[in-house]
Assembly symmetry: D2
């Protein structure tokens, strides 16, 4: 397929490379052009504007947040203005449910299709084409762009005909990860205050009931108090929890754990910790137990 | 070694069989004698009283709760009264930190040793000698009883010289499992209200970020609303969360997640659900979102 | 002064009458004109458009929510477009901090002044000129419009030179009232389940520690389960708690009680109770205790 | 009546004086005898043991906590052992529901009566015979001891025939006061971070919606950060919230506000603040908002 790929960050670059590897024609755009040039070395066609990246069948976006996606999609000479009728916007960014609904509607008015396809996986998985793709949209459109998902991921999960449902699933995944962090923060504080070594404790947990990457990764970071540099910043953690709560409010769903997490992140940010790794909310359980944060 | 084994429930019976298999001499006691007779067929010496089971080096207990352990240990003709000086009580039950402290002190006064060695694993793991043993106590005593741990488990974690620390680690494990249940309950309600199939959602989670038995087991139960018969009853879940909160209060550790879980279990019990599986607290998130529990 | 009064609801009508009584020239506008005609009987000049009500020194608004205030202020032929340079917009509605900031900035660009002056008090107090006015804005502007506050209220509290601070104080008042409701809901459920009569219990509370109108009003409604018709609807309660939480998030202030209240209101709305009085969240404490809501 | 009064603290002394003033014969006991001697100057008969104070119709206790009441009532030569058959124990201390149940049962076995009559009011109210008495017990017994209540209080509320119900009402009152403190802590932090003066804010609140002593007292303490010396220590606040939660758990009543308060008090105690006034939990809202506690 002919794919215009917009957003060559840590995740997007690996995804675009894998599209090339799978034989797709990729026109690439990035706000900072150095990354575009690097990708051109690997066979991509460089685009100097968003509009230039919207000349094919598909425009795929992998950007930081709602603001970036709004600008690239709805701005002058953006995707909606530039993609041919019948074209498809594949949105892989972690964005709000509300924005996904809005983009779906705007693209439809322009005679274009919109699908949400956020991914689970870290940059290494993106580079290795091992992402998990959570896709939602009209079945015929998803079928048409399936080769893209095959190129970037190890498996695709189709969750709904409504694109925004995929964004909600993605947000719920980050919500679940944040609860893992909070629960580890509380449990590790409890046993530490009874004299149990936190590193040994995490070893027990991850050897027994919780043999899962999330517990290993975050248990290790918390035990070592290793919150810098951030793998995923607390400010972004707050943003994703907020988006989950907003989506939940639109659906009239109370999320008491989400409320607790939101308060934790706000407390961390008020303490100046917004740039720390989001697992640093675990330090608040320690501080509240008199262990000094 | 010569081990008096007290408590032949689903867990204890498998543990006692494995002690026999490993070549230990086992004298077995159970409140209901039928299980003792069955074990005698496999080589155990039957005991008709607790005192008869306390004639060897070690008495190991695997009982339901604080009340049962108190009665067997401190009652007339109980373990303290019957075990020879120098003998060791290996307590594998999930009991309170406070009771563990008390038993440690009472046994010391009687010239006996006390170690806590609760286990992680379900009855199948107990039968297969695949338990994980969390042990705490004086190093020399733990060394002496290590053959018992080797016989029943696949790995032993020594966490402290203070026996009660092992009980706290065990309670913290159940606290973490309960948070998994609550977080799944909230996340699954959220995506279900957006039209995502809960079974498919659990498949996504456990194929990606949460490839761990706890998420598979409880995700499946919640998606199928399969809360009867209980694998672990909600009333017991409340008990363990309460014990964790009490231990935390003694250590002056706030556990906001623990507070939230306690309120959920109380709500479920007030609704008559005490005999349901503890994963039924997830139905409260559904009910509060207007999905009918 | 010459005041254009916009919004003749239960509160606004009483306020406008008192402006007339105090000798001010009032030009009145309301979306539904019948109320304008009624007020004209009492001496007001009727306005058929917002613009007609913006010909004097001051435009005062008393409207339902952010949406209404935005439309009247920023819409075509709205206050900003119609009020002469040097004129002042006195905003008495309960609106968000964010909107107050925005209106302040837009009016400044148009060479106009903006002050926030929300009020505490029910319709009877508005009719009796017994409101409490919480005012914020530039001191010289507040001095200039002080006669308006004197006409409608029994006392004016100036809280800041920044208009939005007054809106925050107003929102915080509703937050505090909602915590009174929630705390009464929990306490009354507790004693009721022990056999104490709720009406007698409220009598004890309000005769002793809590001799305040809020406890009498809401304690009585809860004891009698009298949630219809709503004095203040639960959907509006959720809105105000949400606005308080949003303002708090902008200031990086966690409000755990606010989070709890938000979850309660969402639960009530999910159960179809949005049109009930906001004190109906107390019925959730009863329901969660197995008393049937 | 002939009343043995046990416990001459700040509250008890005033109550005993008023019994004398009303013409009752009072035999007084206190752990520290100096207070007994002082009261003897006002007409009381001094007792050197609890037993000596139990020779009349009624023994009334006003002690610090469960431990003190247990010792005085159930200890050797305590009230149960010393009060004549047919005598009545009037318990005015703030004790647990569980202890009230137990004392009721033990006295009944001894052929004695037990009524709970905790009071609302501070030491000044006790001295002025202006207490509010919350009484529960068998109607005939309450009638018989009514002259005592008339002597110490301005009004008596009978809430149940079960004595422990009165203790629950008393605990619920402290729970409600603690929620007032927490809500003020959050609201005052919010407006302070927006630049509103806390003292002025409390003035607004208590002049308008919250014209009640609890808001004036605690609002003032919080605004001035005046937490020492404690009027009521945080450690006692935690105790009363814990007793309320325990009583609620026995009744299967979730109290989410109670859970939040318990976590706040634990956090304060972990920070070394157990001896501060219980209103110091408000400083945690400030700290969590980055204002430095």
């Amino acid at each position: 397929m002919h794919v215009g790929f917009i957003g060559l960050g840590n995740m997007g670059n690996g995804m675009a490379v894998n599209l090339l590897t799978a034989g797709h024609a990729v026109t690439a755009y990035n706000r900072s052009p150095a990354k575009v040039d690097a990708l051109a070395q690997q066979g991509a066609t460089p685009a100097r504007t968003v509009a230039e990246a919207c000349q094919g069948d598909v425009a795929q976006t992998m950007l930081a947040d709602d603001g970036a996606v709004e600008q690239v999609t709805l701005g002058p000479d953006g995707i909606v203005a530039s993609l041919p009728p019948g074209g498809t916007h594949v949105s892989s960014s972690t964005i709000s449910v509300a924005l996904a609904r809005r983009l779906c509607s705007v693209h439809a008015e322009a005679g274009q299709s919109f699908v949400s396809a956020p991914v689970f996986g870290r940059p290494e998985a993106a580079a290795a084409a091992k992402l998990f793709v959570v896709a939602a949209g009209p079945p015929a459109v998803l079928d048409a762009v399936a080769p893209i998902f095959d190129a970037i991921g190890q498996r695709t999960f189709v969750v709904s005909e409504q694109p925004h449902a995929a964004n909600l699933v993605k947000l719920s995944g980050n919500f679940l990860l944040a609860t893992v962090i909070e629960s580890l923060g509380e449990a590790m504080t409890l046993v530490e205050k009874a004299g149990v070594d936190p590193v040994a404790y995490v070893d027990i947990l991850t050897s027994t009931l919780f043999d899962a990457p999330a517990y290993k990764t975050y248990g290790g970071l918390i035990a070592r108090k290793s919150f810098e540099p951030a793998g995923f910043a607390a400010a972004l953690g707050l943003k994703d929890v907020r988006l989950a709560l907003q989506a939940a409010e639109e659906l009239t769903v109370p999320l008491p754990l989400g409320s607790l997490l939101r308060d934790r992140f706000l407390t961390l940010l008020a303490d100046g910790g917004g740039q720390l790794d989001w697992s640093a909310i675990a330090s608040l359980a320690r501080r509240d137990a008199g262990l000094g944060g």
